[in-house]
Amino acid sequence: MTEKASIHKQLDWKKAKVIVAGVDIGAVNSKALILLDGQPYASSHVKTLIPKESAFGTINAISDKTGLKLENIHSIVATGIGRSQVPFAEKTVSEIACAAAGAVNIWGPSVRTVLDLGGQSCKIIHCTDRGRVNDFLWNDKCAAGLGRSMESFADLVQKDIDEIGNIALQSEELLRLSDFCSVFALSEVLDSKINRVPEEQVIAGYHHAVAMRISTLVARIGLKTDLVIIGGLARNPAIIKWLEEILGVRRLAPKPAWDSTLTVALGAAMFADSFHRRR
């Protein structure tokens, strides 16, 4: 199971009064985040295979590096699609509420819309300056799996998932592909080879189609600024570029101190913190 963990060297969990954790089991990746007295201490990323195993995987990745064990953590909240498979979680909170809380914590109280581009689903969340959700929209079934389909697309064109966005940005022109669903788009990508369409135009075209589909979903619930974009696809520069272009709104830039894919796990950790304090 491929995993990676990053630790805040200056902090020492043995000295912390309150240790809480947020565990976000996503469709494609699972993440965990540890807070020591509200300070981010350790985080881990693990590829999701069997949700239960990935849950333990996120904690083990951290304990291997820090010695921090499950029993040392005062309160754990699980979220994400696999949250019911985290036996050691005290409570679960939806990834919608966690995304809003985490986003406002990272980007500040001006955030009003959080666009979560997860592996399997895409959610648009309206929230208050205190990170409370007041409205949200889940993608319809035909727009499912936009994140995972990007991985299938990368395999089809034999490119690495982390570079595919940059390749897309290099192409001025783009092949117009169906922005209705990924099955149609992927099938048209294959058939585009008949007309010998240059590869970067196909790659740019696919990114544009995904961005169009997401922007239609955003428009259905409305976009209130400031906008924050999180989730796996948020790391793809071409998706961000076209989303900002189509929506006519620039998102808040990612904070250097924060990996945006940890936003939901942070929200869960914040809930764990407040549950612990209220105990």
Binding site: F180, F184, E188
Partner: protein, 442 residues
């Protein structure tokens, strides 16, 4: 040598004139919106200055003349919340209301959506009835009167349905008077009624002439020639247009001329316009001399034929136009009853609720138009008979005639299966060749 129709430009100008008059509210008249699948003549009882716009022909011609504009309208409708699987004609039309713009057949885009005074429409499929409900809602409540036509096989021979439709139209006339504050003029209404029935009968005759070999017209021409019968078939000009067209096509038949001289393979077509018309797919058919000579969409959306006889056998032969002149339309009720019957007799209404009617019509089309192949193009997210029952039709035709089915869409190219349709069209041509060689013993 391919024949070019003389009446071509008259048809284009007529449709654009209707739009212009509607937009400019020519002579201070009334703007009436609605489905062109409803009876239109009652609206003309309100005066000489009544201008119509119909959802379906407007969406179809916008997609044809301004595809990019059509695409933006569809996206705007989806962004406003219309279902991703709703009919694309509907989304294109409502998208214009959302964007506050309207495209015209002469390629211009008019800023500011012209608000209709009233909506007179029909309940054909669930989307039809709701299409204009949505327009009325977005525009803050335009008065709307829906006629529930129900439809179904041989409905025109079912007195309870004919009376039901006539009763509603009779009540609708009272509503029209209340909403417009105008006095209903029966003389104008009956004149419009006769024109409406005449145009529908004339169009049926034009289509029936394609039974001949060589067939004078093809689907591409039918697509361009039937919109006026949709937009406003109640005027004297419309009746004249179709009389001239019938005369010219009759002349083509008498002299053996055709717009498509090379017709090695005659195709019967159940589906909407837009995929077979795609350049790549159209070229495959043209290179093989395969032409669509009969189609339920262009024939049956606003056209009448002999239709069902007593024992429910269907015929695509035209009705003798002189029958229209002898029709007794002396009272409002009689005119409404004849109008109800003529609309209920449309092939498209027949197939909506009755699979047996769809089967009879398709078998008759294959036989009477001497088809070499049957092309089925169910329209994604369309509710009427442009999808209902098509899939199962393959089971009926499989052993009789080369038959293929592929996914198309009214106007939304995103949901069309261009690569798949191209492959299936190439296969279709091969199957027709193989079938003809085997049959011909070559």
């Amino acid at each position: 040598m391919a024949y070019t129709l003389k009446v071509w430009s008259d048809f284009k100008n007529y449709q654009t004139k209707c739009y212009r008059d509607y937009l400019s509210r020519a002579s201070g008249g009334l703007r009436c919106m609605g489905s062109t699948w409803s009876v239109l003549a009652p609206l003309k009882g309100l005066g000489h200055d009544v201008h119509l716009i119909g959802g379906e022909p407007h969406a179809a011609s916008t997609a044809g003349t301004l595809p990019e504009e059509g695409r933006k309208n569809i996206m705007a409708a989806e962004s406003a919340g219309l279902g991703f699987h709703s009919c694309s004609y509907l989304k294109l039309f409502v998208g214009e209301v959302v964007r506050d713009k309207m495209s015209i057949t002469d390629g211009t885009v008019h800023d500011g959506y012209p608000r209709p005074d009233l909506i007179w429409t029909t309940h054909l499929c669930n989307l039809h009835s709701k299409w204009y409900q949505e327009v009325s809602r977005i525009l803050g409540g335009v008065p709307l009167f829906p006629i529930d036509v129900i439809g179904g096989g041989a409905a025109e021979q079912d007195p309870k349905i004919v009376d039901y439709v006539s009763d509603q139209m009779e009540e609708g006339i009272g509503w029209l008077e209340r909403v417009t504050g105008r006095q209903f003029n029966d003389e104008l209404f009956i004149r419009a009624a006769r024109n409406e029935i005449k145009v529908l009968v004339l169009w049926g005759n034009v289509c029936a002439l394609n039974m001949h070999s060589p067939a004078p017209l093809d689907e591409r021409r039918f697509i361009a020639l039937f919109p006026p019968a949709m937009v406003d078939r109640t005027t004297d000009e419309a009746a004249k247009l179709y009389e001239d067209l019938l005369a010219e096509v009759q002349h083509m038949v008498d002299t053996g001329q055709s717009v498509i001289p090379n017709q090695d393979y005659r195709i019967a077509y159940f589906g909407l316009a837009h995929t077979y018309g795609h350049p790549e797919i159209g070229r495959t058919l043209k290179n093989a001399g395969a032409e669509i000579v009969a189609s339920v969409y262009t024939f049956g959306t606003a056209g009448n034929f002999k239709g069902f006889d007593k024992d429910r056998k269907w015929s695509w032969e035209g009705i003798d136009p002189s029958w229209v002149g002898d029709l007794d339309l002396s009272t409002r009720r009689k005119a409404l009853t004849e109008l109800a019957k003529i609309v209920l007799a449309w092939p498209t209404w027949q197939g909506v609720r009755s699979y047996w009617a769809l089967e009879e019509m398709s078998k008759a089309m294959a036989a009477q138009f001497k088809a070499d192949g049957f092309l089925l193009a169910p329209t994604r997210s369309c509710e009427t008979d442009f999808r209902n029952g098509y899939i199962a039709l393959q089971r009926i035709f499989k052993d009789r005639l080369p038959t293929i089915e592929y996914d198309t869409e009214t106007v939304d190219v995103r949901k069309m299966d261009i690569p798949g349709s191209k492959r299936k069209t190439e296969l279709f041509v091969d199957l027709m060749k193989a079938h003809k060689n085997k049959k011909g013993g070559v």
